[in-house]
Amino acid sequence: MINRLVGLWYDQNFRRLFLQVLAVLAFAYFGYFIFDNTSTNLERLNIQPGFQFMNEIAGFKPTTDGMNFTGFDVNKSTHKDVFIVGIFNTLLLAIVGIILATILGFVMGILRLSSNLIISFISSAYVEGMRNIPLLLWILIWYFGVILAGPNVRQSINLFDTIFVNKRYLAVPQPIYSDAIIYVCVGLFIALIATIFLKKWAKKRLEREGKDTPVFLASAFMFIFIPYTFLIISGNSITWEFPVLKGFNYINGIQLPANYVAMLMALVFYTGAYIAEVVRAGILSVTSGQIDAARSVGLREAQINRFVIIPQALRVIIPPLTSQYLNLTKNSSLAIAIGYTDLVNVFTGISLMQTGNALEIIMLTMAFYASVSILISIFMNWFNKHVAIVER
């Protein structure tokens, strides 16, 4: 009997099955333990489980008046609207941040490879300084040290009478909705389609006749020219609402609050350093033999960059670049430290405090970030496939 049991224990299949059943049981018991405790605790704390709280009126203002894009109304809007405002503000921060950080990161990454020692020193000092100090400290420095030390509203820094910077907000013009916007959109769409066709044609031409077409320049020209022609033909024009100083404040336009600006600066400079490293590694990964080979077939420096270095470097750059974009999006949740009204601050912070529905709120917040992660990953995977090496 005992021998059979011991034999069973040394049977690999049985042992695997046994361990897994054990794991499932342990997990189930753990789940039950948590569920049981949670329901008792919720009852004791008098919290209604479920998502009904989303329809209750929130009664607090989750965004500033200067950037209330979703039309939040303190008297009517519910926690659901708080959730939406939070998502909107998080995305506003993340998208602008990603664009600016990419530009800064590429510039710094290329500068770090410069043969000029002063330039590469400045770039390395920037990268090492940013990467070895916590982002949260950078956020505090930008907010308390830089932005709040800025000028008062009446002494705002005036950039061409369109943008005004002061210690409380950054005032920018706001486009006013009119028919013109539709014309511009149609123009942009036509330019997009034309670009796609141009690119296909250029590729065919390159293969057939060996002649190069300046697709980028042409499409850039189309993207500006076509919408503009549409506007002129239709007799419309886009009107912008400019910020105007009235009394002690700027009215009209969009007033991006100081904590938004501080968050944006901190995120852009911090993530820019990581992107610079990614770009540098990508460019260095193109072996010098490739460049020698390109020179030997008579390509000019610009052509070497365009046809040899950039396509190969991009392949190496894109996967880590994706994770930097994800990091920036996730790091935007640190906004709570300086009170910018992002999702974590207004929903996971204030709504949770008010309703006590910790489980549901944290689950929703995590679901949002997880879906953003998945979306960015899917997009970047598609793009990666586009540039990936085509092997036999």
């Binding site: 794991a23 948590i34 410069s114 330039i119 100090i133 400290l137 420095i141 974590v344 944290i362 995590m366």
Partner: protein
């Protein structure tokens, strides 16, 4: 005509010693020419760069050193100064920055813990000092509990106050040790591991109950650099094994339940920001526990940090595991190693060596991200700084506080990354040159 050339005729043809290169082709001038002024655009870049450095460095140096105030009892003393940094502020608040609200008469306890750590850690990190293995054993198996008793004091376990139970516990330890010794004689790994492992755990519990006979210090009093280091070191030490386990679990295709569980944990925690994990720890763990039980906030923050970074480390380690060819595992199996032994002796040493840079990067991220605990109300060094500069006596000294904390973090993280680069070179056994 070169002055050295006057007696050119004194040499036979072809025997003339080499002349020094022209002044523009050697020394500083040559270096400047090749590195800073080799093309016209590089010259412009150099001049712009130098001007940029000129704009930044002298004023910064003046602020930090030249016109700084070193002694001050409040910000008024500094305003009277030359407008430089007010380091008197850091001096006056130094104990707060270092230890938080730790009891003033007990400061020797964290100091001793720190000295012990350096004493045990340096021989482990610097291979030139002999006795690495002995120190490592001390560091891993004894130091954590000594440090815990030093910093927190005894962790009372109710059952140990009962003498009968204590005697039974002692008998248990002896029995387990005996079992372990038997395992050693018969070379039975399971017996040996179980016997000594459980005996060790039982002795540790017993030790923690009395600690070192020191009074208790509540974790709410932890703060400043002390809290930052405690959080960083603990999460580093615990999350690495967790990460390795998760990575191995993710690749255990013969155990689908374990595999999917590990994939779920890894992907979930990598998809969400750390701050939501900390919120989850602080808000949800109390809901999960039976009534009357609670962890203190430091422990809950640690749980959040450990699981979060465990997931990141798991992905790093997985990268290393994937880089090991299948032949290695097959070779290990062919000489009769079981799964545990083949992982411990063959696969993991190679895999971990490959991913040292990734692991250290995660450690650096961990050290930096411990600062996030300030959002859930713990007084780490950043929170201490933030609250110190809003103190009425020291108002308006943001830059001094931030510069000090920034420098501390910079030194910590930069030295970590440099150490890892050095370690990488040392372990690079593939090097052929």
């Amino acid at each position: 005509m070169n002055p050295n050339d006057t007696n050119a005729a004194a040499y036979p043809i072809g025997q003339h010693p080499s002349l020094p290169p022209p002044t523009t082709e050697r020394g500083v001038l040559k270096w400047l020419k090749t590195n800073l002024f080799n093309t016209w655009y590089n010259s412009i870049a150099t001049i712009i760069g130098l001007y940029f450095l000129y704009l930044i460095i002298p004023p910064t140096f003046d602020w930090v050193w030249g016109s700084a105030t070193w002694e001050a009892s409040s910000n008024k003393d500094c305003r009277a100064g030359e407008g430089g940094a007010c380091w008197g502020f850091i001096k006056a608040r130094f104990v707060l920055f270092m230890y938080g609200f730790y009891e003033a008469e007990a400061l020797w306890r964290p100091n001793l813990a720190g000295i012990l750590l350096v004493f045990l850690g340096v021989p482990v990190l610097v291979p030139k000092i002999p006795g690495t293995k002995l120190f490592a054993i001390f560091l891993i198996f004894l130091y954590p509990w000594i440090a815990l008793s030093l910093l927190v004091g005894p962790i009372k376990i109710a059952l140990f106050s009962d003498t009968t139970f204590l005697i039974l516990w002692g008998i248990l330890i002896v029995a387990l040790l005996f079992y372990g010794v038997r395992g050693m004689q018969t070379n039975d790994l399971v017996k040996r591991g179980f016997g000594f492992g459980s005996a060790y755990a039982a002795v540790v519990l017993l030790f923690l109950n009395w600690g070192l006979g020191l009074p208790e210090v509540e974790t709410t009093k932890f703060g400043g650099l002390l809290l930052t280091l405690v959080l960083a070191l603990t999460s580093i030490v615990v999350s690495l094994p967790l990460g390795i386990l998760l990575a191995l679990g993710r690749r255990a295709e013969s155990l689908p339940v374990v595999m999917y569980f590990c994939i779920g944990v890894i992907e979930l925690f990598r998809a969400v920001p750390l701050i939501t994990v900390l919120f989850m720890a602080i808000n949800m763990i109390p809901l999960f526990l039976p009534q009357g039980y609670s962890f203190d906030n430091v422990v809950m923050a640690l749980i959040g940090l450990i699981i979060f970074f465990g997931a990141y480390l798991a992905e790093v380690v997985r990268g290393g595991l994937q880089a090991i060819p299948k032949g290695q595992v097959e070779a290990a199996a062919s000489i009769g190693l079981n799964y545990y032994k083949s992982m411990r002796l063959i696969v993991l040493p190679q895999a971990l060596k490959i991913v040292i840079p990734g692991i250290v990067n995660t450690f650096i991220a961990m050290t930096k991200d411990t600062s996030l605990v300030m959002i859930i109300g713990l007084f780490d060094i950043l929170m201490i700084t933030k609250s110190s500069i809003t103190d009425a006596e020291w108002l308006g000294l943001e830059w001094e506080g931030y510069a000090f904390v920034g420098l501390l973090f910079w030194i910590l993280c930069f030295s970590m990354s440099r150490y890892s680069q050095w370690l990488e070179r040392r372990l690079d056994t593939d090097r052929r040159d």
